[in-house]
Symmetry: C2
Amino acid sequence: MAIPRAAKTQRRTRIQEEKEERILEAALDVFSQNGFRGATIDQIAEAAGMSKPNLLYYFRTKEAIHRHLIDRVLFTWLEPLRAFNAEGNPESEIRSYIRRKLEMARDFPRESRLFANEVLQGAPHIEDELKGPLKELVDEKAEVIRAWARSGKIAKCDPYHLIFSIWSTTQHYADFDVQVRAVLGQDYAGEGRFEDAARFLEQLFIDGLRARA
Amino acid sequence: MAIPRAAKTQRRTRIQEEKEERILEAALDVFSQNGFRGATIDQIAEAAGMSKPNLLYYFRTKEAIHRHLIDRVLFTWLEPLRAFNAEGNPESEIRSYIRRKLEMARDFPRESRLFANEVLQGAPHIEDELKGPLKELVDEKAEVIRAWARSGKIAKCDPYHLIFSIWSTTQHYADFDVQVRAVLGQDYAGEGRFEDAARFLEQLFIDGLRARA
DNA sequence: CGATAATTTGACCGCTTGGTAAAACATTAC
DNA sequence: GTAATGTTTTACCAAGCGGTCAAATTATCG
């Protein structure tokens, strides 16, 4: 019998665990570089070092791989926002949110690009997640920010657009990496641009949101 | 004889002009929604209301259409940055740059997404343009901003990351439109989000860059 | 060991893809 | 008009695509 993915025994075998991980790792490479339609199963299989039918033994369709990745990314991607703490000091909360998002752009650019590809092409696979869980989380944090503004801890501003602007500025360094590198020139060999970006963005957001008389 | 695109007569016929325009218009739709690899010639042909071979009579390959569009977008996309004026008042120059970029995100979202798709996937077709003309223009304007900062007209800041942050925040409303809509909810039916974004971003950048003692 | 289940392979299929060939058709120039 | 050129269509192809199948191979367990 050859029913994939632990049919009889509920427990996944060691091989399953290993191979599925290898596939997802390879697929992250390929999907983030080519988008869903641009990626081929052959590419992913080759990157994972196995034959196409072998890969399809673990994930029945291309969509299944993609969905797995998207779900995973969607979850970890929102971690920093979840950590946003109403009780904390607004200035340091915003500062560390920016830092964390920038670190993610630096350390997980493929995940960022996978997500960007998906949203850019109309989010065909995750519309519900955006309108549901994502919206709810943002609504909740927007209320926190609004409360800070009301109590005069930060300048009055639209909390939604504040969040959008933090998302966009930080993810820019992952999604538009090629452009950033091209503009900065190759003298910027290392990852120094992330430190510079952090300094700039913290200054911009902290000073831009400082409560005014 | 059937050599496309004005071989003998250098002058393009009326039909050529019309059809090429129709093709580019349709291709912009399709490419911006699906990326290069995700788009098919059949899709473009149908959107342009003609048969595939007919379309291929005007553009010999899928790449040729794409290149044509990219070149066009690359040029118009930089208009606002070119307009950036060293002699002007820093505050109003930055303000109007943001406004202009936001208007482009609102009025030409397809162009923005076409560009985003390209850069996101490693800019395989336009690396040279990014490292050449784009970098030169940005270098030039960065010098302007740096001069403003030196003379105390605005806060000291990294001009490159300032430009990146304006690009990213404004284009976000075109490229991540689905997400923005999802988060804001459908009560935001109209284009009001662009006005809100403009207000927020102007506040953020103007206050964030205000010269400090 | 042997039996059973899990994994891997190679051959294959139907469909879509980018692109071509050649002839039919339309337009323009004289 | 008619000849030359420009445009459109029909039929087609080879390659690439996502995915299947059955058989071969390997791992697991008593």
